[in-house]
């Protein structure tokens, strides 16, 4: 059975992963097509339609400033996906490289890198992100850096442990013995073979990154106020909630939940597919 056939067989056995993939596809489509799909400019204020309940004109209602919440939720998919992709990208590349160096060279460099990873992991995850975000100041880039650095040790550990086993495997020893320089063995032979678990982790972490980004933005350490980011939008609705205007916070939160669920379903599904013991 070919690889693709195996994949499609595995997917058919696991309908929940297909649901997850469909949700994730929809999320990406919304992010890409936001300007086409959104009926209003996400930044356009209109005092005349302040705090309208969900209805035909404004599907998800409007907030205090008269922003159309539906349009903002659509645009929010862009920002939250950028943050998730950026943060996970930073964590994956930096963490992966550090783990690769640690696992391939061993010795004091390995010890040094892994001790630093230990220290980063000694912090409760969200609290480290909070500290970095507070130190750097609130902005989209800093939010990505904060969440990226916080989640970096996971990838370092993953890649390192894969390399430790791969380094002494037959094909790696063969590559070394025909005279490949170490960097070539590492980059061409070993790293590509340790990527599968890294990508699974990246999928699961993307959901987590969205939650962290929304949380940090909610407390004012991420993206700033009028930006259509889901966490910011929830924080803009907190005051309105106690006067009964539930929709301002409700819809962005629902969007976060659906986005994170889709990443988790796909991540879990991939894990089951690629790890035969879990089938």
């Amino acid at each position: 059975m070919g690889r693709l056939a195996g994949l499609s067989y595995g997917l058919r056995r696991n309908p929940i992963t297909i649901i997850g993939l469909a949700m994730l596809g929809a999320l990406v489509a919304v992010a890409l097509l936001a300007p086409v799909l959104a009926p209003y400019d996400p930044y356009a204020t209109n005092p005349a339609v302040s705090l309208r309940p969900p209805g035909p004109g404004h599907l998800f209602g409007t907030d205090t400033f008269g922003h159309d919440i539906f349009s903002r939720v659509l645009y929010g998919a862009r920002i939250d996906l950028i943050v998730a992709a950026g943060a996970v990208g930073v964590a994956m590349v930096l963490g992966g490289l550090l783990g690769a160096v640690a696992g391939y060279t061993g010795g004091w460099l390995d010890d040094g890198i892994m001790r630093v990873m230990d220290m980063l992991q000694a912090f409760p995850n969200f609290i480290l992100a909070l500290g970095i975000a507070a130190a750097l100041g609130p902005s989209l880039t800093n939010l990505i850096i904060a969440i990226g650095l916080t989640n970096l040790p996971i990838y370092a550990r993953l890649v390192r442990s894969r390399l430790l086993t791969l380094r002494v495997s037959g094909f790696a020893l063969a590559a070394v013995s025909v005279g490949n320089p170490p960097w070539r063995v590492l980059l061409i032979h070993l790293l590509p073979n340790s990527l599968a678990p890294v990508f699974i982790q990246a999928t699961l972490q993307s959901g987590w990154a969205i939650l962290q980004a929304a949380g940090l933005s909610f407390i004012g350490l991420g993206v700033r106020v009028p930006t259509p980011e889901w966490g910011v939008m929830i924080s803009m609705g907190v005051q309105q909630l106690t006067s009964g205007h539930w929709w301002v916070s409700f819809f962005p939160g629902l969007a976060i939940m659906l986005a994170v669920i889709s990443f988790n379903l796909v991540g879990d599904g991939l894990q089951d597919l690629l790890d035969p013991r879990r089938r």
Partner: protein, 338 residues
């Protein structure tokens, strides 16, 4: 004897980790943000005055001297003074700690009491409706933004249905607070035999503790399930079954004990999420704990307070891991030989 050595090794490992944590926290507020003076006093001061303030705070010294001084301050219990409250950060944190302890302890109790039966039932009746329900709850639990969930429940139970008390602090406004002994409202109320305060304290605790507990439940239930699945499939359980022991006995007396060991470790991990979660949840419920303190500090760029909170929370987290490690050694003798 062996256990003593195990304990000693664990304790020795805490030192370097803690030092590293201190270094990172120090680096966060000194090296990355450029000049902390700019954040403290703004940009519009003369260069002479700036140099003077830098000298006063020891910021003209090389970083390693600053770090040693910082450590020296910590040893004396000095975390600096909050810009916001103008009080020593240590006093603020100490005063707010019981509120957070009470909230997280309740949340953790709810989480464990829900997760363990759910996880065990999911494993025992694998692929039944209980298992599916458990899976759905787990996915929602790890995917829902806690602060939003809190807001939704406040809207439903306080604003719409009027069952829950208003989300403003640890007691309903009409109730007289018991004298502070432990700082835990429910315990203090019990000690003062103040039943109305106890009742009110519990009522107010319910929503925030449930929200935090729900988020914590998912990873615990997953752990309990996978531990139980593994245990039920192990040779000793099959042996017990082959001997004709009743299913109940096999599950409760043989499998459960071993299945729950990994859950103990997970409790420490989950507690770390909770320390982050309280920053979001306490602000929503106006809960006067560490999380609300951190929230206010973050909103006002109160660096000593943020730094103090991070150190405090991380130290608690590290110590909790130590306790769990030791507990693991007590519960599972094999660990001690590694």
């Amino acid at each position: 004897m062996l256990f003593g050595r195990y304990l000693l090794r664990r304790l020795l490992l805490v030192g370097p980790t803690l030092l590293g944590v201190l270094f990172i926290t120090f680096a966060l507020t000194r090296i990355i943000p450029g000049n902390p003076i700019d954040r403290m006093v703004g940009f519009f001061i003369s260069d002479e005055r700036r140099a003077e303030i830098m000298r006063e705070h020891g910021l003209d010294q090389p970083y390693y001297i600053q770090f040693i001084r910082y450590l020296g301050g910590l040893v004396r219990g000095d975390l600096g003074t909050s810009f916001l409250t103008s009080r020593p950060v240590v006093d603020d944190l100490r005063q707010r700690f019981p509120a957070t302890l009470e909230l997280t302890a309740c949340a953790m109790t709810i989480a464990v009491l829900a997760a363990v039966p759910l996880g065990v039932a999911s494993a025992v009746w694998k692929d039944s409706w209980v298992d599916h329900l458990g899976r759905v709850l787990s996915v929602i639990g790890v995917s829902v933004p806690v602060f939003w969930f809190g807001l939704v429940l406040v809207y439903l139970f306080f604003f719409k249905l009027g069952i829950a008390p208003p989300p403003i602090g640890r007691l309903e406004p009409s109730v007289v607070a018991p004298p502070v002994v432990t700082g835990l409202i429910t315990v203090d109320a019990l000690m003062a035999r103040n039943l109305p305060a106890l009742w009110s304290g519990l009522r107010v605790l319910t929503l925030p503790a449930f929200v935090l507990g729900f988020a914590a439940m998912a990873p615990l239930a997953r752990m309990a399930r996978s531990g139980m699945v593994e245990a039920l499939d192990s040779p000793y359980v099959r042996a017990a079954r082959a001997l004709g022991l009743p299913a109940r006995t096999v599950v409760v007396r043989h499998a459960l004990k071993n299945a729950l060991l990994p859950v103990v470790t997970m409790i420490a991990v989950v507690f770390g999420y909770q320390l982050g979660g309280v920053v979001l949840i306490e602000s929503i419920f106006s809960w006067p704990g560490l999380g609300q303190y951190a929230f206010n500090a973050a909103a006002n760029a109160d660096f000593p307070a943020i730094q103090g909170f991070i150190l405090y929370a991380t130290t608690i987290y590290i110590l909790l891991f130590l306790v769990v490690d030791v507990l693991y050694g007590v519960l599972d003798r094999r660990v001690r030989y590694q």
